[in-house]
């Protein structure tokens, strides 16, 4: 060790900008430490890992809808990165106390409120990391996956804003109490709020007062109909973050016009954003929602593929080739003579909250009228979710019913369970749907499982709400056995005996005999 004291390079004189520069320097140090903290690294990796695994899962379940995933991204970010900002920010404020350096740090020059300001700035890079992750996720989904729609920039900014909000909360808690347990407890309370707030508020507008906001509708809808107050909510969250930050610096001893001004601006943002986000959608949006729900044909574009017409809302038209693959797999097993039926597949949305005065019967009637007016009577309905196996089975089943019976599958509106396909026709409908693809076969099993606890058999739905075709248990049993046999063999028997199988009097037992599978134990009276 050398004991030679080197000459100081001259005592840096205190200048007016020194406190501001010191705050920025301290903020830089705290930023780096926050980003490097194991909690932050783990949270970031977990979030990215969840999204990556979600992408792989989504590919085999549901096609992504970006205006739905933007909100979903904010939620994950709030819990993980926001939680990290809360805990790590709190630990940073408590560092001097935890490590016993208060004896020294209290006689250093930079005042407490300036140090607090630096701590408040520390989560900024983490928020930027969050924004980059969200943008990367959206870009990957938009480019690599058959995604529909587009995200709302304000909705995307909500996640990073919650990081700032929870970071500010962590700093404030550190200023209020010296216990490092309080921040994790606050995070637990927040998570409990996520779980319990929605049922408590019945999913209503009051949820916008919570950081996560109101969830998106169960069924994806076109962006123009969402009308989520994302911008107002963003302003509300940033205002809240500003209020917490102001409280933290006040607690640290800051006083003066600038602090009061910052607090006033934050309060104004909170109140304005909080009020605006609770306002109901404009009459124009409400009218548009009803119009799109009741008369979808007027808001869709159609295209024909393989003699089938597909009509979809513009932002969902990327899915038409995927629909066509399923439809053509059914059509291909039907004799040429039965392919003359004109098929139209039309996308529909059914959100009860959009028009509380309209019941299911009125909506079905509106759709029929809309189809008739569009020149596509009896169009097969498909909703705004796609990619999961039940969706493929639902589409395949409805198409099969049209080809087998020549009917639309629309039972009288009073018959809420849809039309029933009995005997050989029912067997054919299920077999055609199940053989369309492995995916559709899996979906068929799931649909049958759903119906098992009720009346058995299987129902094929449009828009997940309205069963259009029902096939009873005996027919399902025969078809399931046929699906287990070599496809080519069954396909040949279907081609040879199409007329017999589709004849109204053919029973499930006769169909079983034709297809070479055991007859069902019971029969259906149709």
């Amino acid at each position: 060790m050398t004991a030679v004291v080197a000459e100081a390079p001259g005592s840096p004189a205190a200048d007016a900008s020194a406190p501001r520069r010191a705050v920025l320097a301290l903020a830089r140090v705290e930023m780096v430490r926050m980003l490097r903290h194991p909690v932050t690294v783990a949270a970031t990796l977990l979030l990215a890992g969840l999204w990556v695994s979600d992408w792989f899962t989504t590919k085999t379940t549901r096609y992504p809808v970006l205006q739905e995933l933007d909100h979903d991204s904010a939620m994950g970010m709030m819990i993980l990165l926001g939680g990290a900002a809360l805990i790590v920010g709190n630990l940073a404020v408590l560092r001097a106390h935890r490590d016993g350096t208060t004896g020294l740090s209290r006689v250093l020059i930079l005042p407490d409120h300036a140090r607090t300001l630096a701590h408040l700035l520390a989560p900024l890079p983490l928020a930027v990391v969050g924004a980059v992750l969200i943008l990367a996720r959206m870009a990957v989904l938009a480019i690599c996956a058959p995604a529909a729609g587009h995200p709302n920039p304000y909705e995307l900014a909500v996640g990073p804003a919650t990081v700032l909000l929870l970071g500010a909360l962590g700093v404030l808690l550190g200023r209020l109490t010296r216990s490092a347990v309080v921040a994790p407890l606050a995070l637990l309370v927040l998570l409990a709020g996520l779980v319990f707030l929605e049922p408590l508020t019945n999913g209503g507008k009051a949820l916008w007062l919570a950081p996560q906001g109101q969830p998106t509708p169960m069924m994806p809808i076109p962006v123009s109909l969402l009308a989520r107050p994302a911008a107002a909510h963003l302003g509300y969250l940033l205002g809240l973050a500003g209020l917490l930050a102001t409280a933290a610096v006040l607690r640290a001893g800051a006083r003066g016009v600038r602090v009061a001004g910052a607090g006033a601006v934050a309060l104004a943002c909170t109140v304005a954003g909080g009020t605006a986000q609770l306002s109901p959608p404009s009459p124009a949006v409400t009218a548009a929602r009803i119009a799109v729900m009741n008369q979808p044909s007027q808001h869709e574009t159609c295209q024909e593929l393989g003699h089938v017409t597909y009509c979809a809302f513009a932002e969902f038209s990327r899915w038409i080739p995927a629909w066509n693959t399923v439809v053509q797999a059914v059509v291909a097993r039907v004799p040429a003579t039965a392919r003359s039926t004109q098929l139209t597949v039309r996308q529909r949305i059914a959100i009860p909250a959009f028009d509380r005065g309209t019941g299911p019967e009125q909506l079905l009637a509106a759709w029929r009228a809309d189809d008739a007016a569009a020149g596509t009577p009896g169009a097969i309905g498909i909703d705004t979710s796609w990619g999961d196996s039940p969706a493929a089975a639902n589409l395949a089943g409805q198409v099969a019913y049209r080809l087998v019976t020549g009917q639309t599958g629309e039972a009288p509106i009073e018959q809420r369970d849809g039309a029933t396909a009995c005997g050989g026709a029912g067997v054919l409908v299920v077999w055609l749907a199940g053989q369309a693809s492995t995916h559709a076969g899996t979906g068929l099993g799931l649909l049958a499982e759903d119906a098992r606890d009720e009346r058995g058999g299987v129902s094929f739905y449009e828009t997940q709400r309205f069963p259009t075709v029902y096939v009873p248990t005996p027919e399902l049993t025969v078809a399931t056995q046929a699906l287990a046999r070599p496809r080519a063999d069954i396909a040949a028997r279907v081609q040879q005996s199409w007329a017999t199988l589709t004849a109204p009097g053919t029973t499930a037992a006769q169909a079983a005999q034709i297809l070479g599978v055991p007859a069902p134990a019971t029969s259906t009276a149709c």
Partner: protein, 284 residues
């Protein structure tokens, strides 16, 4: 110019008198602050470091009055302070810790150069990238000393920096403090009279919140002149006595006639001062 001028400083914590009418002055060079546990050393140093105010008395540090915010800030800008048990952020490297303190001292221009300079000054060039939790106690103390030396302070206050160091580390630390004291004022609180003997130009003895002695170390030793003797057995009436390496007893007190007097050390003087002060205190 006198660096520190204290007149009649007093401070009470509830019913306990920590300091009572303490007056002294500090100039350039190393001044040792000796005293037993509970004498008020740390309290006095915290007052000088502007961590706490005195209840009464006048204090000027580097020409400023630390009772006001502006004066306190002026003092802090030119102060280096190594508290007793300073505490370190164990996950910081030595460089990061000193850099962190530099920021809190509002050193912005050439900050990293300054951090490197003080780390070099305390001999931690090779260790600056090591986490503090991986450093020995002596090295940690040097990190604390480096932080105290930031911005070339005019007054350096060191509160028992040699506690817990092994003999070699203590020797090296003394050497370091001796060099730091060149051209600036250093107040070194210590239990070790050897520290005072080797590096201090002046010494203040603090006992029960009062200053019973202030002067040069030689003068402190001189307090015991004629009152230290050796004997083959423990002498009756000695204020303190212990057996030395050669088997004789080293006695302090009122020697008997014909006693074999020896030259007193600073430790002997210190013990005499403390004992006299304690007796006076008990009498009072």
């Amino acid at each position: 110019m006198t660096t520190v001028q204290a007149e009649g400083l007093s401070l009470r914590f509830g019913r306990t008198t920590a300091l009572k009418d303490v007056s002294f002055a500090l100039d350039d060079g190393v001044t040792g602050l000796l005293g037993p546990n509970g004498a008020g050393k740390t309290t006095l140093l915290r007052i000088l470091a502007t961590a706490i105010p005195a209840d009464a008395g006048q204090l000027r540090i580097l020409g400023a009055d630390p009772r006001g915010a502006a004066g306190r800030l002026a003092v802090r800008r030119r102060l280096g302070y190594l508290p007793q048990n300073p505490g370190f952020h164990p996950h910081f490297t030595a460089f990061e810790f000193v850099d962190y303190i530099a920021i809190l001292k509002e050193i912005v221009a050439g900050r990293h150069d300054e951090v490197r300079r003080v780390l070099h000054a305390v001999g931690l060039d090779d260790q600056r990238g090591k986490k503090i939790k991986a450093l020995s106690g002596g090295m940690r103390q040097r990190v604390g000393l480096a932080a105290a030396l930031l911005d070339d302070p005019a007054l350096v206050i060191l509160d028992e920096p040699t506690v817990g160091l092994d003999p070699e580390q203590r020797l090296r630390f003394r050497e370091l403090i001796a060099h730091i004291g060149e051209g600036r004022t250093v107040l070194l609180s210590t239990h070790q009279t050897e520290d005072v003997a080797t590096v201090c130009q002046r010494v203040i003895v603090l006992n029960q919140g009062r200053i019973p002695f202030e002067g040069e170390p030689v003068a402190l030793a001189g307090v015991a002149r004629g009152r230290v003797w050796t004997s083959p057995a423990r002498a009756d009436g000695a204020l303190a006595a212990w057996r030395t390496g050669n088997g004789d007893y080293h006695n302090i007190g009122d020697p008997p006639p014909g006693a074999r007097l020896v030259d007193p050390s600073i430790e002997d003087g210190y013990l005499m001062v403390i004992d006299a002060a304690s007796l006076a205190g008990r009498a009072a």
